[in-house]
């Protein structure tokens, strides 16, 4: 815990906006305690493109900018069973293979439309690993995105202390 806050503080002094966005909070590589998740930067980069494809940048940040790619593996590692972890590990190759088979290039080199097509196809795949991988990563991407500080303070505002309860108010349309 202490080590992490030291790292955080260093990050702050050298420019949090670049090194460690304020809303990244606990999601940083230090959280990665398991070897398979300490994995190559390349896998994190691929995951970043996957989560960004699921929730892309529009006029508001997408999942990648909100560092959801750091939240997903922490959850898989800490909160899911071995089966889910295995599917998660296999999934990256499955994404790459699908991209290569369909577009003859890696997922990262595909354009946004092609990436979406790859993930959509996998989500309907007969291959249960592909389907489960998309389910897992998509679910966690939504969770990480909706529960990010950015979304909870700007888009779907979380009230820390409402100090009220009204039992009957008109629905706002």
């Amino acid at each position: 815990m202490q080590r992490r806050s030291v790292v955080k503080n260093i990050a702050l002094t050298i420019g949090a906006a670049i090194v460690l966005p304020a809303w990244a909070n606990a999601w940083n590589r230090e959280s990665f305690q398991n070897s398979f998740l300490k994995n190559p930067i390349s896998q994190e980069n691929l995951l970043a493109e996957i989560v960004e494809t699921i929730i892309p940048k529009t006029n508001t940040p997408g999942a990648k900018e909100l560092n959801v790619q750091q939240f997903v593996p922490v959850m898989v590692m800490d909160c899911y069973d071995k089966n889910a972890q295995e599917i998660y590990k296999k999934g990256f190759d499955l994404v790459e293979n699908n991209a290569k088979n369909t577009y003859s290039k890696s997922f990262a080199d595909c354009d946004a439309k092609q990436r979406l097509e790859v993930l959509n196809k996998m989500s309907k795949s007969e291959n249960s690993d592909e389907k489960k991988y998309i389910q897992l990563v998509k679910g966690l991407t939504i969770q990480g995105y909706l529960n990010s500080e950015y979304v909870m303070t700007n888009l779907r505002v979380y009230e820390y202390a409402p100090a009220r309860y009204h039992g009957c108010v008109p629905v706002k349309i």
Binding site: N25, D78, L146, Y165
Partner: protein, 571 residues
């Protein structure tokens, strides 16, 4: 004793000792110090100070690494505590992990514990209803357990006394089955809850839907400000500890009040091994305490001892307090100690939809719900089972998001949740269980816990009465829901393990006769009159109310009696 000099004995001597700092121990500490007694409060867990030791209370959802989900390794290592609704990433620090204090489940029993100052008063559900005359009369009328040695009139002034200090919100509903208290402003029922209340009043003359009575400062008074507490902020994350003191806990209320007298010594990490009995004096003289850090045993002495270790642990302390005079546990001449343990039957839930009020919703958050007081067998026996059940009732207009697809559409959909085209309604059952000799706790003959104290064997289960009552709950609530026009009614019997209700009671029951009960009408042991038990262990029957308010009132009443008796020279 022999190696102690006079000074150290003096340093270890108090007027009173309170074992436990939870909801009833905190009250004992406040009352006894308030009456001028130098009081030692023994807490087996660590110290948790109000505000400063609530590490997660100001955390935002995104600050939890796992968004408040438990790690799998935590769930795997803690099959019991992981079942508790209040145990999550933000509250793990307040619950006892399974391995920390082992016990033997002769029958499955989920023993939910909080070892810290404040005990479970930090994480409790804060529902606070008075017992009625009909509840205290229950065992005598229906012929189970033994007659309570007190009636509503005995405890009513003490309910008022503790309610005013603790701060209880509620509506004066004027119901014989659930007496009104000294209420702060009630929480509001929402449109569908009010509708159900009105429909039920039309359909039944003896069934009522009211707002829950809860230990929240909805409209604090001077006495609450004097405690350093402020209005409830409707955060509904109470179980992490409340920096506003918006709900009642020992930490926010009774313990700091006791500390202010200068008469309280609070000793954390103090596991009570047993109570010391002096055969010549015919009373208890102190307690043996094991320091949970050093494992060293120390004796402390006092003229009176309040045992408020939480129901099951109070049984454990007394069972382990053996002497030549009491070889089977303190005060246990009749072999009743540890027996007639009971709990609340929470296994049944019912859910449904309501298609009205679709132009309305709620705003803000409410740390409470509506409540259906017991309507079965209240004034006379009406069914093929004994006693009855109270129920919660909650209506909510929930939202959902379309999570199909991926990309911009998905993003747009999850940022724009839609109201469901129904209100969701639901109730859970809180059934009275009948105390029986066969539901008991006892010491294991060989297994010991990490402090060298025998482990408890817990032997508690449902019976046929509970099964019949559960069936009746489903039938009656289904009928009430149907008459109110609720649709898509679903019932569920979780068959959950006893204990998870966290309303375990009994084992050291009150009664009139020393032959058939452990405690007298002042919560003192019949056979050791300077030892008082005022937590859940003292309960002769369980009724259907959430029990904490009754423990508070029993404690204040017993403390008043104990000090008067001390002053008369009787204790």
């Amino acid at each position: 004793m022999s190696n102690l000099n006079i000074n150290s004995i003096k340093n270890q001597t108090y007027d009173a000792i309170v074992i436990g700092s939870g909801i009833s121990g905190g009250w004992a500490a406040k009352e006894l110090t308030g009456k001028g007694l130098r009081t030692l409060v023994l807490e087996r867990g660590r110290e948790v100070k109000h505000v400063t030791n609530y590490p997660t209370t100001t955390k935002m959802p995104w600050e939890f690494e796992h968004r408040n989900q438990l790690k799998k390794e935590v769930i795997d290592a803690n099959p019991v505590i992981s079942k508790c609704y209040a145990f999550y990433e933000g509250t793990e620090q307040f619950f006892v992990k399974d391995a920390e204090h082992p016990y033997v489940q002769e029958k499955p029993f989920d023993w939910i514990r909080g070892y810290q100052t404040g005990g479970k008063s930090l994480m409790w559900a804060r529902q606070t209803q008075r017992w009625s005359e009909y509840d205290f009369e229950g065992p005598a009328r229906d012929g189970f357990a033994v007659d309570w040695p007190i009636r509503y009139a005995d405890i009513a002034p003490w309910y008022s006394y503790v309610e005013k200090f603790a701060g209880i919100s509620g509506n004066k509903d004027g119901l014989a089955s659930l007496p009104d208290g000294e209420f702060l402003t009630p929480h509001e029922m929402n449109c569908v809850e009010k509708y159900f209340s009105q429909e039920t009043a039309k359909n039944y003359k003896d069934r009522h839907i009211i707002i829950g009575r809860a230990a929240h400062l909805t409209s604090p008074k001077q006495i609450h400000f004097d405690q350093g507490r402020a209005s409830c902020q409707n955060r509904t994350i109470c179980e992490r500890g409340c920096p506003y003191g918006g709900y009642f806990s020992s930490n926010s209320s009774t313990l700091p009040w006791a500390a202010k007298t200068g008469k309280m010594t609070l000793r954390p990490h103090s596991v009570v091994h047993s109570i010391i009995y002096d055969e010549k004096k015919n009373k208890a003289t102190g307690v043996r305490v094991i320091d949970s850090n050093t494992k060293q045993m120390t004796e402390y002495y006092a003229r009176i001892i309040f045992v408020n270790a939480a129901a099951i642990n109070t049984n454990l302390v007394l069972l382990n307090s053996t002497s030549h005079r009491f070889p089977n546990g303190l005060g246990n001449d009749n072999d009743l100690l540890g027996k007639y343990v009971a709990f609340h039957n929470y296994r049944a839930t019912i859910n449904a939809d309501y298609e009205g009020f679709l132009d309305s919703t709620t705003d803000g958050r409410r740390p409470n719900s509506a409540y259906i007081p017991r309507f079965r067998n209240v004034f006379k026996q009406e069914t093929d089972f004994l006693r009855g059940y109270a129920s919660g009732f909650n209506a909510g207009r929930y939202q959902h998001e379309d999570r199909s697809g991926m990309g911009e559409d998905l993003k747009n959909n999850i940022l724009n949740p839609q109201y469901n085209n129904v209100w969701s309604v639901g109730s859970h059952m809180m059934g009275e269980t009948i105390p029986k000799a066969s539901n008991f706790v006892a010491l294991d003959k060989t297994l010991v816990d990490p402090w060298g104290i025998p482990q408890l064997r817990i032997n508690v289960d449902y019976d046929d009465n509970d099964v019949k009552m559960t069936k009746d709950f489903f039938e009656q609530l289904t009928e009430m829901y149907t008459k109110a026009g609720f649709k898509n009614i679903r019932t569920n019997d979780s068959n959950r393990t006893p204990g998870l209700d966290i309303h375990e009671m009994g084992g050291v029951r009150m009664g009139k006769d020393p032959k058939t009960s452990m405690l007298n009408k002042w919560n003192a042991l019949h056979n050791c009159k300077n030892v008082f038990v005022t937590d859940g262990a003292s309960m002769t029957s369980t009724s259907t109310q959430n029990p904490s308010l009754t423990y508070m009132a029993l404690t204040a009443r017993a403390a008043d009696y104990a000090v008067k008796e001390m002053r008369k020279g009787n204790l």
